[in-house]
């Protein structure tokens, strides 16, 4: 079982922070920027100040932690209270559980496809009705693209798949409308996903970004679903950006403002040298852009 390097890094940093706090005199008065921000209301802080009392993160502290750690996210409100027990079963790991909320990771799985654990989505569920699926802020926005199941039709996201799993568990079914937000870019107004699929050949699209827009992230995604031995590339203006060779292997990243400059056309191509396909498995990819239309 391979752990994603980002999660290892985050875990290591957290451990380091905890160790530092443990050995720093007067740590209660020290603001550690890297640490989770505690913005606890007075009544909660009094409760937490009880000596030797077990530290139970308040709902406020938890949501502030989410705000700090989350990147691209999709959420909905169930429209009523939630019994956490109903949804707990879909979690692969539970990182935090209180009477008010659950935080953990959930496997991205549909009836037709199951993503490997590297694609797991974080899920926050609160008894007050809020459900939010998100990737950590270190993950590029392209990671949300449900590339493995993209067949040239609708563009879906892994966040919605996990929200769907939660909704099903909560009895909401498909009766929810997700709203997207990227906590890293408070000034962004739009998310744009552009999908391209190819099989046995090369397929391309062109994009021209207006100079009047502000782009916060120029993300890309590349996913190879089929198991045929081949080399699959994503190129930008004929320059290889990423390569995948194995079945169910995906890569994500970001392009710089210089690579995907505004005011000029760019060609993004997906190459797949496989000689045949199995079922509806393709090599897919595309762009994921976070931007603001007004200055």
């Amino acid at each position: 079982m391979t752990k994603p390097t980002t999660r290892i890094a985050c875990g290591g940093l957290l451990l380091l922070c905890l160790l530092l706090l443990s050995f720093t005199p007067g740590a209660t008065h020290t603001h550690t920027p890297a640490a989770i921000r505690l913005r606890v209301p007075a009544f909660a802080s009094v409760a937490q100040a009880q000596a030797d009392a077990p530290v139970v993160p308040s709902a406020v502290a938890a949501i502030n932690a989410l705000v700090d750690e989350a990147g691209i996210a999709a959420y909905f409100n169930r429209g009523g209270s939630i019994n956490l027990g109903q949804v707990k079963g879909i979690y692969r790991t539970v990182e935090q559980e209180t009477n008010q909320h659950l935080i953990g990771s959930v496997q991205v799985k549909t009836a037709n496809y199951t993503y490997p654990e590297t694609e797991d989505v974080h899920l926050y569920v609160n008894t007050n009705g809020w459900v939010m699926a998100y990737y950590l802020n270190a993950d590029p926005v392209g990671k949300i693209f449900d590339a493995a199941q993209f067949d040239g039709g609708s563009v879906n996201t892994k966040l919605e798949i996990v929200l769907g799993r939660a909704a099903t568990a909560l009895g909401v079914g498909s009766g929810f409308t997700p709203t997207f937000y990227d906590f890293r870019y408070p000034n962004a107004t739009h998310l744009l996903l552009i999908g391209e699929k190819t099989d046995q050949t090369t397929d391309s699209f062109q994009v021209n970004l207006p100079a009047t827009f502000t782009f916060f992230e120029r993300g890309w995604a590349l996913w190879k679903s089929h198991s045929i031995l081949c080399t699959c590339n994503l190129t930008l203006n004929d320059v290889v950006v990423a390569t995948v060779r194995n079945a169910d292997e995906g890569k994500y990243g970001t392009l710089s403002a210089g690579q995907l400059a505004t005011g000029q056309g760019h060609t993004i191509s997906i190459f797949d040298t496989a000689l045949s396909v199995i079922g509806n498995r393709y090599t897919t990819g595309g762009l994921a852009l976070i931007y603001r239309e007004t200055p």
């Binding site: 949501i63 809020w130 993209f150 563009v155 408070p186 107004t189 552009i194 397929d203 207006p210 595309g286």
Partner: protein, 752 residues
């Protein structure tokens, strides 16, 4: 989707076929009226219907910029919306690291700060404290903020920052300020072009002319130089401007003895004033007043002796005890009464080097610290409201009563007010319900009085007139003050002092030479116009536990808004308050809390054992304050208090070495911080205070603490909210003819 190359081939083939078909046809080309137009020899011809190009352009104008996508299989756009309801943040953003950079050359200021969460920016600013009529807005969310303000003019700007986070929580900083000055200087500058800073020598004898040199700025040919006091104007002779910053002149002989303001006026009519600048001396010293005129035996006491003819080298003695003396000018010397003197009354002497001396009999009283009880008052605390009562109209008068010593609370302390020097009619009585022992201090309730006619009157207040309270000193209970009663005027509204800036709002100075900017208005209805300003400088004397008016001006002309006055603080370390009163054309005097504070921190200061020096600084949210006391000799201790009475002091009371306290930004209670340096033994020390954002203040850790048996105080020596009372510092009569050129003296009439 096929590749572009395939698409292009198909499109080319289609165009080729179309062209071949068109060439095979014949054309009948007609003009706009339907007439046929003959064309010969052409291979191809085509007409196009013209359309209204304006409509097309308008239509195209509705196409907004967009991301153009070609040949993609699919795309999807989603708006991004912050989940306000889910996050439910109720905490406003916190502003830190506030920094201001003023570009004097292009009249702009760049203000940067950080917020602890994403927040929008609204920076509001203006020229007056509390009034922000301009703003800089940035609707983008950020944690690092920059506001560039342009088109500024010279002078002070005041601003606040409102930060709004994504949940709509809004936080507002306290007021900050910056100064746009012609040249970048460490000290914020509010100064006009013409300034006066000093005069040398600052005194002369009346029997002969005195050549003087004045320093300042903006001097030019045609400037006039005068010594002024009240209605007196004495022009200096032989004025010679040697540079823009220096001029020479001659003070004529035979000027009346006393203390004068130095006034210069350029050819454009601009004036500069250096208050209390020049003393004219003649003959032997004469003592008029000692402030304070008493103290306890176990604490050293810093006193101010006022009078005439105090020559260079003059010293003060309490009978046979020579006091350490600092001569301010020919009319004031400061001296320190040591601890340990026997209780009793002492004659005060000022002795010039030529052995001429002045004596004030029983001018100072020493009380036994453990057993004494005395009531007394000062003329500067015999107050009236309005400051200049009107004939036939009700006014209020009152007196602050002090109590030295005592063991229990006194009740019903009576004060009788009389018209005249004690022999006139009784105006009425006012009774203090309670007066605490051990340096108690309070004002009587106001007594309503009506003065029927105009002119100068003397009001006398007699403390404990029926002698119901046994005191160690019954001779200091009678206080007098002269009031000028004016005729009622159409302008019945007193002026208002809206702003006082000492050195442009600086916290601290190590130089006694300061510049005071006073802003006042004369409100409607029927404003008669601003005429004068009156300044009183207070220090806090912890030996007697009350504020002492260490220096006053006369009524100084108020010519412009703001008007500027050169002012030399009296050289006593610690906080100095400048109280200002304004006078309008109808002789209405402003009331209220018009005062500003600056801490005077000289290169070094000395304290006797048990003596405390108090400094006050304003610290804003996001800043930290670092205080270090470096002993040169002896053992000073350091206590720092915030304005939150629930907080105990930050303490550094080592038995040797430096004392240091750092209050970090996250513990700052925005507002006043009081620094108390306590002489655990007689000590000379140096104080270093740094206030700023943490990155700007040396983040030196607290020094190692050595074990100490010292017990830190549980309360500040003086409550942080304690400032000179609004009613103190009674201004001189605005219409009184000043027959003497000594500053108003608050001389208690000793009788009984």
């Amino acid at each position: 989707m096929k590749t572009p190359r395939v698409k292009l081939i198909l499109l080319g083939a289609l165009l080729l076929i179309s062209a071949l078909v068109l060439l095979a046809r014949s054309y009948a080309v007609v003009d706009a009226q339907g007439n046929a137009i003959g064309i010969t020899g052409a291979d191809f011809a085509r007409t196009m219907q013209t359309v209204d190009s304006t409509a097309l352009r308008d239509s195209l104008n509705t196409v907004l910029p967009r991301i153009v996508i070609e040949f993609a299989d699919k795309n999807r756009s989603e708006p991004l919306r912050y989940p306000v309801g889910m996050v439910g943040d109720v905490t406003a953003p916190n502003v830190t690291n506030l920094q201001v950079s003023v570009n004097a050359a292009n009249r702009s200021a760049t203000i940067t700060w950080l917020t602890d969460e994403f927040a929008q920016t609204l920076l509001s600013y203006g020229r007056q404290p509390g009034t922000y009529d301009q703003s800089f807005t940035d609707a983008h969310y950020a944690k690092q903020h920059t506001a560039l303000i342009t088109n500024l003019t010279l002078g002070n700007y005041y601003f606040i920052i409102r930060s709004t986070d994504r949940d709509g929580n809004q936080g507002t900083t306290s007021e900050n300020n910056f100064t746009v000055a012609d040249a970048p200087t460490p000290t914020p500058t509010l100064l006009p072009g013409l300034q006066l800073r000093a005069i040398q020598p600052a005194e002369g004898v009346t029997s002969q002319a005195t050549n003087v040199t004045a320093s300042g700025s903006g001097f030019a040919a045609g400037i006039s130089v005068t010594l002024q006091r009240g209605t007196q104007r004495h022009s200096l002779n032989a004025v010679s401007v040697t540079s823009a910053t220096q001029l020479q002149a001659t003070v004529p002989a035979n000027l009346p003895v006393g203390l004068y303001d130095l006034v210069v006026q350029n050819s454009a009519g601009q004036r500069a004033v250096l208050a209390n600048a020049f003393s004219v001396l003649a003959g032997a010293p004469q003592i008029l007043e000692v402030l304070p005129n008493q103290g306890v035996s176990d604490l050293p006491n810093e006193i101010s002796v006022h009078g005439f003819n105090f020559a260079v080298g003059a010293v003060v003695r309490l009978e046979t005890t020579l006091l350490p003396t600092t001569r301010i000018n020919g009319n004031q010397v400061l001296a320190t009464v040591p601890a340990g003197l026997a209780a009793g009354k002492y004659d005060v002497l000022v002795i010039n080097p030529d052995t001429q001396q002045g004596v004030l009999s029983d001018g100072y009283a020493v009380y036994d610290s453990s057993s004494n009880n005395d009531l007394f008052g000062y003329a500067f605390e015999l107050w009236s409201n309005p400051g200049a009562p009107k004939a036939g109209e009700t006014a209020q008068i009152g007196l602050f009563v002090h109590r030295q010593g005592g063991k229990s609370v006194l009740t019903d302390v009576k004060v009788r007010f009389l018209l005249g020097n004690g022999a006139g009619s009784t105006l009425g009585e006012a009774t203090l319900p309670f007066l605490d022992p051990a340096k108690g201090f309070d004002s009587t309730p106001p007594l309503a009085v009506t003065f029927p006619t105009t002119g100068e009157i003397v009001v006398t207040a007699v403390i404990d007139p029926d002698n119901a309270i046994s005191e160690d000193n019954e001779a200091n209970n009678v206080i007098t003050r002269t009031l000028a009663i004016d005729a009622p005027s159409a302008d019945r509204t007193p002026p208002v002092v809206t702003d006082i800036q000492i050195n442009g709002g600086a916290h601290q100075t190590s130089d006694t030479a300061t510049n005071i900017a006073v802003t006042a208005t004369d409100p409607t209805p029927n404003p008669s116009g601003l005429k004068s300003a009156y300044l009183v400088e207070y220090i806090f004397n912890n030996a007697v536990n009350h504020w002492v008016p260490i220096q006053q001006s006369g009524w100084l002309a108020y010519d412009e808004t703001p008007d500027y006055y050169g002012w030399h603080l009296r050289p006593i370390a610690g906080m100095h308050y400048l109280q200002v009163r304004a006078l309008d054309g109808a002789n209405n005097i402003s009331v209220g809390a018009a005062r500003a504070q600056i801490s005077y921190a000289p290169t070094s200061d000395t304290l006797g054992r048990g003596q405390t020096r108090i400094y006050r600084y304003t610290v804003a949210a996001g800043q930290q304050i670092s205080v270090r006391v470096e002993p040169i000799s002896g053992d000073p201790d350091l206590y720092v208090w915030s304005s939150n009475p629930a907080q105990s002091a930050w303490v550094s009371n080592n038995e040797q070495g430096n004392e240091q306290v750092i209050v970090p930004a996250n513990e700052i209670v925005a507002g006043t911080y009081q620094i108390e340096v306590y002489g655990y033994t007689t000590t000379e020390y140096r104080l270093i205070v740094e206030i700023g954002v943490p990155s700007l203040v040396a983040a030196t850790a607290h020094p190692p603490r050595s074990p100490t048996a010292k017990t830190p105080p549980t309360a500040p020596v003086l409550a942080i909210a304690n400032t000179p009372d609004d009613r103190q510092g009674a201004p001189p009569s605005p219409s009184a003819t000043q027959t003497t050129v000594i500053r108003q003296l608050f001389l208690p009439l000793v009788r009984r």
